[in-house]
Amino acid sequence: MNMIVTPASPATPNGTTSMPNGTTRPQVRIVIVGHVDHGKSTLVGRLLHETGSLPDGKLEMLKAVSARRGMPFEWSFLLDALQTERDQGITIDTTQIRFRTNSRDIVLIDAPGHAEFLRNMITGASQADGAVLIIDALEGVRDQTRRHGYLLHLLGVKQVAVVVNKMDRVDFSADRFKEISDEISAHLQGLGVKPTAVIPISARDGDGVAERTDRIGWYKGPTVVEALDQLEPARPLEALALRLPVQAIYKFDDRRIVAGRIESGSLIAGDEVVIMPAGKIAKIKTVESWPVTPVAGRQGAGRSVGITLDRELFLERGDIIAHANAAPRETRRLRARIFWLHDKPLAKGDQLLVRCGPKESRATVVAIEKAVDPGELSSVENKAIGRNHVGEIDISLSNPIATDPYTENPRTGRLVIEVSGRIAGGGLVLSVDAGQRAVPVDIVPVESALRLDERSARYRHNGAVVWLTGLPASGKSTLAKALERRLFTNGGSPILLDGDTLRAGLNSDLGFSAADRSENIRRLAEVATHLARNGHIAIVAAVSPAREDRATARRIADTAFREIHVATPAGICEERDPKGHYKKARAGALASFTGIGNDYETPQAAELVIDTSARTVSDAADEIEQMLKTTGVLFDEVVDLAANI
């Protein structure tokens, strides 16, 4: 078996490696940690040799080179030689070395030292199933040994084998071994980590690595290779509950394909699924592919797939598709263990963007529970987490996200944090706010008895959401009413949804904070879209100042959405002030009033822009009617149907 040094490749999704003979072997990923001088490289070199993982002639070559230079051969040269080869061609970021024990494929995740240590540990070792902690028998447990032990705890690595190296330098003293073994076991147990084995070795001479030599005859436990052979692989991702985060929805042809990568579990056409966080239920109609489609087989973790559903539901990027009986939790609040990479320390109250798979949400740091400098291992402070430090924080999210604790699902239970569009940290979800376990709502929408073409034949229009946005008093409601009358007169079915009117009832629980405004818009859009899907023209008049909120509305209503920016100049709006809001706001009596500040975000791609100060209401209604014609909502004059017969 040759050693394979490869750049980080996509994680094997099911934790096994296909063998040429068709069988599979469990794959176990490990890190080797410990004080920098305690013999990591020597142990790795020795392990590669003892497991027959070196390319033919490599060892002889290195021995010859050492002899020529008049230096004694060192096992660590092997790693140096590999490093050099690696530098010539392969990645420097996360390098993996593979070797085999009797029953396991071991992937050694290299965690090089120095400044990058923490980041590599966390990004590399968070995927590690086990760790080897190395201690010099002469020097004993050092600060760095303890720190690394603590890091393993932070990272949730539960299987830790301790090796006491350089036993040759303490004359293979069983007493010295016991002393160190007791000390490190106590330390690790204090962190909630029970070592799976403590092994006396001499990596240089080979004692204890693959063989129990006479010199350690007093030791009865496993060798390093045996200890590695007993590591339990992580539960295969495919054995976990289905998690298919929605990456995108494609409508390139008549299919509406929901695309994403299966992070865990598996699916097949016909499965009943729940779409989180909304909790809507649907069935998988087909699994689409190319060049052959649809595909009939079961699709497992790691596959990038596309599915179609048996009913039209509103889905968006970041939703998670799961099986109905094992849905992820929906939450607006979670606790995470994070590592911080940004120059500016993370502090309580900071505004962030949290990404969990393709889902993103604005977030606020509610509390910093722990802040640790892994270099010192002291809880430095509890107010901020500095660059390259780690900590535990509580985050409150402005949009609910569906996630799992890291211990339940290593793929969906991790998140990254962005500051100013740049990744500033990452972390693992420790827990989500209790009491919000999502109960899938089995809402099987009742199909209308009427067909859409029956309705459109009567109304002579298609369903649409006409969204009027603009400053208070810009003329939205006036225009909306004029349009409503106009469409009705022509035999259509318009329905007015006025922002203020809905706030009196449906939205009476909402205030004027940014989050409440977003929710207000979302509800308006959902109601309007329902009407549009049933053939009506929903006319929404709402200030809707936030571009992002309007974008949400457009996503919900999709192709039915027609945005009209009522762009009456601010001065004129304030002059009109029919509800007296501007006056109150100027007097400071109306907080969060859009109009006198700069908080209205002008639409950039509205279907129509109307300045009501420059036209009559009737002219403006004409313009809207024209736009609705050219964009396919209103049918042109009862075009001579006869001509087409």
Partner: protein, 295 residues
Amino acid sequence: MHLLRTDSGADGRDSRPPVSEQIPVGLTTPSMDHLDQLEAQSIYIFREAFGRLKKIALLWSLGKDSNVMIWLARKAFFGRLPFPALHVDTGKKFPEMYRFRDHYGKEWDLDLRVEPCPPIDAVDPTLPPAARSAARKTEGLKMALGKYGFDGLIAGIRRDEEATRAKERVFSPRGLEGNWDVRDQPPEFWDHFNASPPQGAHLRIHPILHWTESDIWAYTKRENIPIIPLYLSQNGKRYRSLGDQDITNPVASTASNIDEILIELEQTKVPERAGRALDHETEDAFERLRVAGYL
């Protein structure tokens, strides 16, 4: 394997691929092999690029890597390339390459944009001759960027090709001049890519960064992706990598089909770009090119 095919099969322009043979439905999930994993990862990257950027294009150099990219993109988008394929044309490619472009540009229904490069006089005269020639392409690329205003360019580079490419990210920001800052790269992990280039800058997206030369050939064979015949041995020589005619040389090889190429790659110690003159002029020529925006 097929070369310049003339029949248009299942991968033609029909937007609805044929219905599959009924595969027996089972409880077991077919396990993913190495190529499946590479493919799934690349598809994920393509979909991220398409979803998170506004205006992207795929750089089609007509070589084996970019053909695999187009194939992967069509897998990601169910048969089509929903953005332009950009060929920055030095005008000095092999005739076989132009024939390939014109044929498959049509057959694959690509939104093909061919953009010329400026004359050689317009390029940094301090670069060695071949690098200077390659730098024309960089200039051509900048012009195309200015013309279309792309915020993302998909490029088929691989980590195993060349040492400076090993340091690349999957989403790699380029400055306003198209330049690459090797030392200030954003962190990238857990498949979260930085998709927000600074104002006026753009991103290079590298969907096959994690593939090797052997992977490319094995996948080309498995998927029956067409190739330019220059990759196969004729008179004891073949091209391992295709660039401009005047700065690309064939290597000694008897490999006349993909299986033989794969065997050859297992044994060879000659690097892939050995035939590319520009890699060997001065130690830093390639890195200088890349910093200036070369692929």
